[in-house]
């Protein structure tokens, strides 16, 4: 039982991180029909920004802030203005291809310009163990869980309790109507991109201590984002959160109870099962048939 609690806590922690990544991904799709195949690399990259800042002499807390700021500029603003906007007029498909190319580009860039070796990354709190209900739980997991939960709650408050957040949601659900209501749609879309950049930066800070900073991190994390968003339902932020958490917990549990060689397979099978049985995800709304 103790190990179960341990797994549950670390699973929730990982799940919360996946949720952050998935929410950003989901929001981008909803507001601008951007399927960001580079989302995983977006999570991989801020860690390298931070390491670079630290190499230049900044203390961790400052480097983290710099990392988040850089992320907002590069992965938020520049991404939107340089890549997404020019592509949108060509349709969804060229944009998808562009983000696929971008994911490759970012991955190679990290490998070529920083290092191909895995780099250690500082944790938020010194890694010690606590006893909770007789189970041994690492403070790291708890810290991650705490930060992730705070972020998710803050996100929820932002989206539901502030005017800005509600405007963003309106833009996501019905841009035409939002425009008629006087909401500056283009600005809202920009904010979504910036928000995604913040979320992926936070996720990066939380997950890199565990995974170490590797240029290949994007593959796994990206997959997690897609899975979480699809499982939860493409069209719902709540769904992305739920999907992320489910994925995190299942992922950790399966590592123990299923052969480690096939560890990565479990979420993939869930994906295929979801698409087969409930293509709109667990929470997604069934949309009108288009064809």
């Amino acid at each position: 039982m103790e190990s179960f609690i341990q797994l549950l806590v670390s699973g929730l922690a990982t799940g919360a991180i996946y949720a952050l990544i998935a929410v950003g991904f989901s929001l981008l799709w909803q507001t601008s029909h951007t399927i960001n195949f580079a989302q995983g690399e977006f999570v991989m990259l801020p860690a390298f920004f931070i390491l670079a800042a630290m190499n230049a002499g900044a203390p961790f807390w400052l480097a983290a802030l710099i990392g988040i700021a850089l992320s907002v500029v590069v992965l938020g603003f520049l991404f939107k203005v340089v890549i997404v906007d020019p592509m949108l007029k060509y349709g969804v498909l060229p944009l998808v291809i562009s983000t696929i190319a971008l994911s490759l580009f970012l991955k190679e860039a990290a490998k070529d310009f920083y290092s191909s070796q895995a780099q250690p990354f500082p944790t938020l709190v010194p890694a010690t163990d606590l006893e909770v209900f007789g189970a041994v739980v690492s403070t790291q997991s708890l810290a991650v869980l705490l930060v992730a939960i705070v972020t998710v709650v803050a996100l929820h408050l932002l989206l539901h309790k502030t005017r800005l957040g509600r405007s963003m949601q309106a833009t996501a659900q019905n841009p035409t109507l939002a425009r008629i209501l006087g909401i500056p749609v283009e600005r809202m879309v920009l904010y979504t991109f910036l928000l995604n950049a913040v979320l992926v930066a936070i996720a990066s800070i939380l997950i890199t201590p565990i995974y170490l900073a590797k240029f290949t991190n994007g593959e796994v994390l990206g997959m997690a984002a897609f899975l979480a968003a699809i499982i939860g339902g493409f069209n719902q932020v709540r769904g992305a959160i739920l999907g992320g958490v489910i994925l995190g917990v299942l992922d950790n549990l399966s590592a123990v109870y299923i052969s480690s060689q096939y560890r990565g397979a479990f979420p993939l099978l869930i994906l295929i099962a979801v698409i087969l049985l409930r293509p709109h995800g667990l929470l997604g709304r069934a949309e009108e048939r288009t064809v």
Binding site: I35, F37, L93, P94, A101, L104, F105, E108, G264, H280
Partner: protein, 328 residues
């Protein structure tokens, strides 16, 4: 024959001549490279069907090449004659493509992209873990090149001509398919699926068919890949190859019949040309694709077309046209 037909025939003729004569001017490594070009073109033709004609993103083409390669390697090393193994590879990949695509294509939102992404990773895991079958990470060595009626394809030159021959046959078959009512159907489903449906065109079935045939061509490419490189291991057939093939189709020009030929050539030559940049070639390749998507989403052939203004007001056949979504 209309103007487009003349140009296409001319291009095909030139291509055929160059491809036949080139190996005699090249050394062993050069011949290996153009053999690789021929093999990758076949895989790219398949992906072009899925992407350029049916408008679906598939990230599993690399996995299908892998399945084809392993099928042929395992079967021929168990004593099966090569032609039977080849057919098996193609048929198996068609079946898998059909099964994979069936649920994914019932929903929109590019779900096939995600399903194929997951599938590629799954295939890699199976190839790596099931050592009893695939020899795991140690790979399969010593794959022999086939022999046909006393003609051994063992030498570099002979095997090249075998690959070239297969490329000719498979691209002719694809051309023929696109000339049939199916070609018109693919165009319709890509340009205006709603209208197509109202005319009785089952868009789901045609999309599925394009994907299955495309995957089957991937498998056949794999069947040639295995005896070409003569050593295969799971790592070669992951997302890396899938991305590579995807970028090939895009750079060449998705939806153009000759797009894959051009794209594969770029993909094979680029690492050679960027040797001086010490392994930055993938970075350059990816950057190139992004730039290209911004300025000429219809790839190199799209650029050529715009520059030379080949298209007149006269109607063209489905073979000349590419996806609406990639038009500037």
């Amino acid at each position: 024959m209309n103007r487009f037909g003349v140009v296409a025939l001319g291009a095909a003729l030139i291509l055929a001549i160059v491809a036949t004569v080139a190996p005699f001017f090249l050394r062993r490594y050069g011949i290996y490279l153009i053999s690789m070009w021929a093999v990758l073109t076949i895989a790219a033709i398949g992906l072009n069907l899925t992407l350029g004609y049916a408008g679906q993103v598939s990230l599993a083409q690399g996995a299908f090449v892998g399945i084809g390669a392993y099928t042929v390697a395992l079967l021929t090393q168990s004593g099966w004659p090569y032609p039977a193994a080849f057919v098996c590879a193609g048929a198996l990949c068609f079946a898998i493509g059909w099964v994979l695509g069936y649920p994914a294509l019932r929903v929109a939102h590019h779900y096939l992209a995600f399903v194929t992404l997951a599938f590629t990773t799954l295939v890699f895991l199976v190839l790596r873990n099931e050592e009893w079958l695939t020899n795991g990470i140690y790979g399969i060595n010593g794959i022999e090149r086939p022999m046909f009626f006393g003609w051994s394809t063992g030498s570099a030159l002979d095997f090249y001509f075998f690959c070239l021959g297969m490329l000719a046959v498979l691209s002719a078959a694809t051309w023929w398919m696109l000339r049939s009512p199916w070609g018109r159907a693919f165009l319709a489903l890509r340009e205006n699926p709603i209208r197509a449906l109202s005319l009785g065109l089952d868009t789901r079935r045609y999309t599925l068919m394009a994907f299955a045939i495309g995957s089957s061509l991937g498998g056949m490419a794999g069947a040639l890949y295995a005896p070409l490189v003569q050593f295969i291991e799971p790592g070669s057939f992951g997302l890396g190859m899938s991305f590579n093939l995807l970028l090939m189709v895009i750079v060449g020009g998705s939806g153009y019949f000759f797009g894959p030929f051009v794209g594969a050539l770029v993909a094979v030559l680029l690492p050679e040309w960027t040797r001086f940049t010490e392994g930055y070639y993938l970075l350059i390749y990816a950057a190139l694709v992004m730039v290209m998507m911004a300025f000429s989403p219809s790839g190199l052939l799209g650029l050529v077309e715009r520059v030379s203004k080949v298209m007149t007001r006269r109607a063209a056949s489905p073979l000349a046209l590419r996806a609406k979504g990639t038009e500037p």
